[in-house]
Amino acid sequence: MGFSGFALLKEALNGQRGWTEHWRKAAPKPAYDVVIVGGGGHGLATAHYLASRYGITNVAVLEKGWIGGGNAGRNTTIIRSNYLLDGNIPFYELSMKLWEGLEQDINFNAMVSQRSVLNLYHSDGQRDAYARRGNAMALHGVDAEMLDREAVRARVPYLDFDNARFPVKGGLLHRRGGTARHDGVVWGYARAADRRGVDIVENCEVTGFLREGGAVVGVETTRGTIRARTVGMAVAGSSSLLAAKADLRLPMESHVLQAFVSEGIKPLVDGVVTFGAGHFYISQSDKGGLVFGGDLDPFPSYAQRGGLPVFEDVAECALAMMPMLSRLRILRSWGGIMDMSLDGSPIIDHTPVEGLKINSGWCYGGFKATPASGLCFAHLLATGELHSAASAYRLDRFARGALIDEKGVGPTPNLH
């Protein structure tokens, strides 16, 4: 049933007995027009846009575990479009615009909250770099504002402004950035796709590809063989493993990224704040916990669990930026396996194998990309053409030297 103020009122009077399952527990059919591998945010968003914008509803999303069990349900929920490079800004801004209309589009409360993202700078050189990024954003119509030290102090007075090594000198403010409820996003997309007839098949691992004359014409799964006219893979940290089954080697390494949440406290951190002198960012969930994270563990990992050295570094950055955090207890930490591409940017493209398309390389910024990634991948699967906002995300850009390297660190995935 649909969500509305009237439905809420009716169910309040009805003992909440009228709510139905968000999506059917579909069993796989023998064949589909499109099979999407991976029921994370990107796979589900792709299915939703395929059905709602391209009219293709004979679609299955195959998920080896449960919906929301991958990175989609493990991230720190930050959404933003404060990028620097031409290849990236239009894509992430498209995503931000889709976030702004998402809840009406899918009739689901994804708790999109544009509470702002503030990047702190700590030196004159960093100020210049942020001004350049802010200008690039403004040229593409994205909101960006340089704040001086006093303006930062007015927003977040509890920072260590006079830290001897990393004094806070100002910040770049992106007011339309913020957070969204990650589980709400996947549940909402799953429900919306299901309502248009998409089969969401859980506990269904793709173990290989069905090939005819070299082309992919379907998938082998733990729930049987499924044929498809087109197969799209959106398996995030498992991309290399799945691609290997089609004899492809990707420009990708898998690394674990950790996140942490503290005990719940009264409202303190209004928006998202990022430290500029190390890798650390923080926000506060609606339940009151402070949610924060930092760097990847530096070596490749499929362990879905991180190590203490990174936690130590995160804690040091946290205290350098916000000393009051020393009194806080950590409730939980967890990790997710990131698809770290070799230039830090994603891939939405055909593969050299006919019938197989790829959506991957999201590094640790793929949550914010979920809506645009879904729309652009749906466009590719439906039309065979690249979407204009994602036209730089080619698989062959590495061979052409056309890298999209926001950080300028070269082919070192653990630094992106």
Binding site: S240, S254, P300, S301, A303, G307, P309, L342, A399
Partner: protein
């Protein structure tokens, strides 16, 4: 995690730096570095990864003894199976 350096013995992770996959040797080419074959070989060497879930040969650098190592490590459990000094042929 600890790694047993062939020179220094078992040491803490903090002393090491990881470079990444050590499964592909640098292409040995003489002649035209701009040929299509050379470009493809170098693109593969610089950007393509096997990225397996399981045993994986990696380059690690041990600072205290200034030595490059090839470490075979399981990417699921971080168990280290083998460590040897990198040889000339497989220098990164």
């Amino acid at each position: 995690m600890r790694i047993t350096c062939p020179t220094c013995g078992s040491r803490d992770l903090h002393e090491f730096h990881v470079l990444g996959e050590a499964e592909q040797a640098r292409p040995r080419l003489s002649g035209d570095f701009d040929s299509a074959a050379a470009r493809a070989a170098f693109t593969d060497y610089v950007y393509a990864r096997r990225n397996p879930a399981g045993p994986h040969d990696e380059y690690w650098y041990h600072g205290p003894c200034d030595t490059w190592l090839v470490v075979r490590r399981d990417t699921r459990s971080h168990e280290v199976h083998d460590v040897r000094a990198a040889r000339g042929g497989d220098r990164p």
